[in-house]
Subunit: 163 residues, 2 copies
DNA sequence: AAAGATTGACATCTCAATCTTG
DNA sequence: CAAGATTGAGATGTCAATCTTT
């Protein structure tokens, strides 16, 4: 028999099976683990970011601008769609990032209602250095997986996400 | 060739590969999907809860009490450890749940510093009905997976979570 | 002094209302 | 009037300080 180390969700599921033996807890086995892994990831991410003086929300905005490519400019609306927060939140985030000189606001050349948010040189340097550390931290979270298992995991997660 | 539907993370990873071809984005393929699935799950959960007039944070507390078994009583400290929030947050949550008569506060019989939080009959009925709906909603999120794939996914997630 | 719970200050999010321009 | 951005109100979280009891 292969020994499998129980995790926190095994404890959770056992408790529910004891108290509610009528319910099928199979979905919990998958989705509680997804949820808890996401929280663990948030903490690891926060650790990687704090080494560069960034909060997670700051990284999210800077990263969206960085991966959009030169000239590293997006409207607040595009940033809202990239990051999944509301427009009020994004106005606030851009205010604070601009105060730190990591982004700047520019008038939209073609639309008087609009604004363009641009990554500054300092913002770009910060996000580039942070991303390298973030990926290194994430790699450490995954180093218990074999490559075939990792690839299979990606396929399964993609199927869940694309519905 | 099997066609695989691309998801939102494929778009994200492609952007990074274009802008930072020097970086190995493999960790992102797993962990960005975990993170986004967790957010999708949060929205589904909120939907299942709202049908019963509950917020997610309310369910988290009631569920911890319910699965602890009769007499459905835990200290605020135990609830903090079960739910992963801070003690200040838990004081607040218990206040609001008690105002809704879903839990009640009792003096701890053996420790004058302590308090016991008890699930009321109404709280128990609410959490029992909500849990059934939650599991049904979660089952729908997973119904694209074959049983062997689901079982393999659980094994892989458990390995990631137990380190 | 340590442990358990509470309180208050502060940060950040969402939602709805508002302002400006197309 | 629709779209884009901003503002303000309210909800909920964290953190650090405090109070009570062990």
């Amino acid at each position: 028999m292969t020994e499998v180390a129980p995790d926190e969700v095994d404890v959770l599921v056992d408790a529910w099976r004891r108290e509610r033996p009528d319910l099928d807890t199979a979905p919990m086995e998958v989705l509680s683990r997804i949820s808890r892994l996401a929280h663990h990831l948030d903490r690891r991410r926060a650790g990687a970011f704090s080494a560069h003086g960034l909060e997670a929300w700051e990284f999210d905005v800077l990263a969206a601008l960085r991966r959009s490519g030169p000239p590293y400019r997006l409207t607040p609306g595009q940033l809202v769609r990239e990051t999944g927060v509301t427009s009020g939140t994004m106005t606030n985030r851009v205010d604070r990032l601009a105060a730190r000189r990591l982004v700047s606001r520019e008038e939209h050349p073609a639309d008087g209602r609009g604004v363009l948010v641009r990554l500054t040189a300092e913002g770009r340097e910060t996000v580039d250095a942070t991303l390298a550390d973030l990926l290194a931290a994430e790699r450490r979270m995954l180093d218990g997986l074999t490559e075939p298992d990792r690839a299979q995991l990606v396929r399964t997660l993609r199927r869940l996400l694309s519905r």
